[in-house]
Symmetry: C2
């Protein structure tokens, strides 16, 4: 995936890297690659903007930021901003700046999340907090967050500033709400959806809404794209939370079981609790609520979830949001990008990583 | 100090609290109180705005935010925004909102600083990270930071957004730079000034610049007020760093020696190093650079600093910036507020807490 890796190296290297064409087959097999290929020069411009804007005379900042950003990540959010701007014929140079801004907000929340969760791994490498320390992770997160607002201010749209400052406040609220629901077995499915809507889907929604807004499209278009991003984000997070209990992810060398160890109340656990026997209920109480976890407990949790047909339940729930997302997407003008966004919506759910 | 304490209680209580007049003598003895008394109803409006805006359906957010905000703090930064707006005849309702925004940025950095520094105490009580945990402190900091940008967006001035987003990025850079200079005995005085300019003075400068900007004053006025805030902030931080080695602060029940234990390279240490004997140099290397600190070391450090005439050197340095601040202040229109800002500038240096 060409656009996934952003070299920490100087711009000359980046240019070389960007000019390498992806194999045709690779592009079409993966809807993320296909859309990125279509928006190739725009993604390159966003990546260049990201490199330019994460620079600072305080060298630890680009070091730490590039450590995380160069490690990949799918760049789904900036891609969504580019795609929705292009669909509504917006000015792409504005989209480049704002897509970088969206990615900076995302990166800042990742840095802070990893400190909050005491993460060990991120994007297949040691988490930044382990390499650079919690202190630097918190502060570089703050820097990237500030940079995001500098970029928006440079763009000059108060409507975009409203959308993204609202999203930022909602993300933080969602993260705090997740903290307060952790280890609480009485958490409802509605509360869980509220948490993931805030902590994840709000930024997807904002990333999509920015497009029609800078294109000057009518408010219905902005509303439809926000709706598309919101539902896609919810579907994505349900799938992600489910993958944390699935062997497939482990086979790709990714960590699993983080949510279990932290006692996060996610969809698979909430479904498992709905029909749990007294014995199973005791198991979940001991592990998730009391955080008294033995070596074999995660395997047992996974068995309960896999054998209880819960994976299916979780994905069915994700698909209901996927369907809502596609319904909203249908309000966009028919075009090649819209056709590519459809399989992308499915891909964000079905990816195994 | 009436305006210092913001009750976590509902608005009815706040109103009662706000209506209690300060004793005349108390007002005039302390220039901070005198200026606050003059801007009494405006400070009340700012405090009401702060309470209103730190609210959230996620109750841990107002709980944690009010824990810190209710503990006091001098509210110097919002007061400066009110004062400079009033001096240039700006619209005070806009100043209320933006002063709250400035205070939120300040509070967010305090929450993150305390996590970064593993602080034990803040404003005479246990630091929020100890009471609510690092996780909540990081996330509520993010929330307040986002709220600050929501408030600025609501105000709608792109110039104010530029000033405060620039300041936020500079603060984060200053904090990271402080991390990288910690424990490094080769840190120069220039580097130290650069750190405190960024981590502290930039927000003072921004708080002051906002006033003439929303008043529509000319760019020279904005520049002069930014200059005033910047130099006042530098003077304030030099004094604060010096107080961390002074017995007076300890007598007021405040902690001292935090910077020493963290190996921060501040003015008193840098002056002490300039003329240190070989033996003293070894002492500073062991304690600050190698962080090998015994129980009596802080007392010894304090003795070296107090007996070496270094307190005087530090305050003399602070006074040079105070003088620059007053020079810039003189460019403001002559008025009662300007007359009160003069002693306030001295007060921020000479306060013993």
């Amino acid at each position: 995936m060409r656009f996934n890796l952003l070299p920490a190296a100087p711009k000359a290297d980046l240019k070389l890297y960007m000019s390498k064409p992806a194999a045709k087959q690779e592009q079409t097999a993966n809807p993320l690659n296909a859309l990125s290929a279509l928006l190739d020069s725009d993604m390159a411009a966003v990546n260049a903007k990201i490199i330019e804007q994460m620079d600072s005379p305080v060298k630890l900042i680009p070091q730490l930021a590039s450590y995380l950003i160069a490690a990949g990540g799918k760049r789904v959010r900036p891609l969504l901003t580019l795609a929705t701007t292009a669909m509504y014929d917006g000015e792409m140079t504005r989209a480049h700046r704002l897509a970088a801004s969206v990615e900076f907000i995302h990166t800042a929340t990742l840095l802070h999340d990893d400190v909050v969760d005491e993460s060990q791994q991120r994007r297949g490498q040691d988490a930044a907090n382990l390499v650079f320390g919690n202190q630097a992770s918190v502060l570089v997160g703050d820097f990237l967050f500030s940079r995001a607002f500098q970029l928006m201010t440079e763009d000059g749209s108060l409507e975009v500033l409203r959308i993204l400052s609202d999203a930022s406040a909602i993300i933080a609220q969602g993260e705090v709400m997740q903290l307060t629901t952790a280890n609480n077995l009485n958490t409802t499915m509605d509360e869980y959806i509220e948490v993931i809507k805030a902590k994840t889907a709000a930024l997807f929604a904002a990333a999509c809404e920015v497009g029609p807004v800078i294109a000057g499209a009518d408010t219905n278009a902005a509303k439809a794209m926000a709706e598309y991003g919101m539902n896609m984000g919810i579907a994505f997070q349900i799938a992600d939370d489910t993958l944390d209990y699935m062997a497939q992810r482990e086979q790709l060398g990714k960590t699993v079981g983080d949510d279990f160890r932290e006692g996060k109340m996610t969809a698979p656990v909430l479904f498992a609790l709905q029909n749990a026997s007294a014995e199973d209920k005791d198991f979940w109480t001991r592990t998730l609520s009391n955080r008294d976890i033995n070596e074999c407990d995660f395997d047992h949790a996974r068995t309960l979830i896999e054998q209880g047909g819960i994976i299916r339940q979780c994905f069915d729930l994700a698909y209901t949001y996927r369907d809502k997302a596609l319904e909203a997407l249908n309000q966009a003008p028919p075009c090649e990008i819209r056709d590519l966004l459809k399989p992308l919506t499915d891909y964000t759910i079905n990816r195994k990583s």
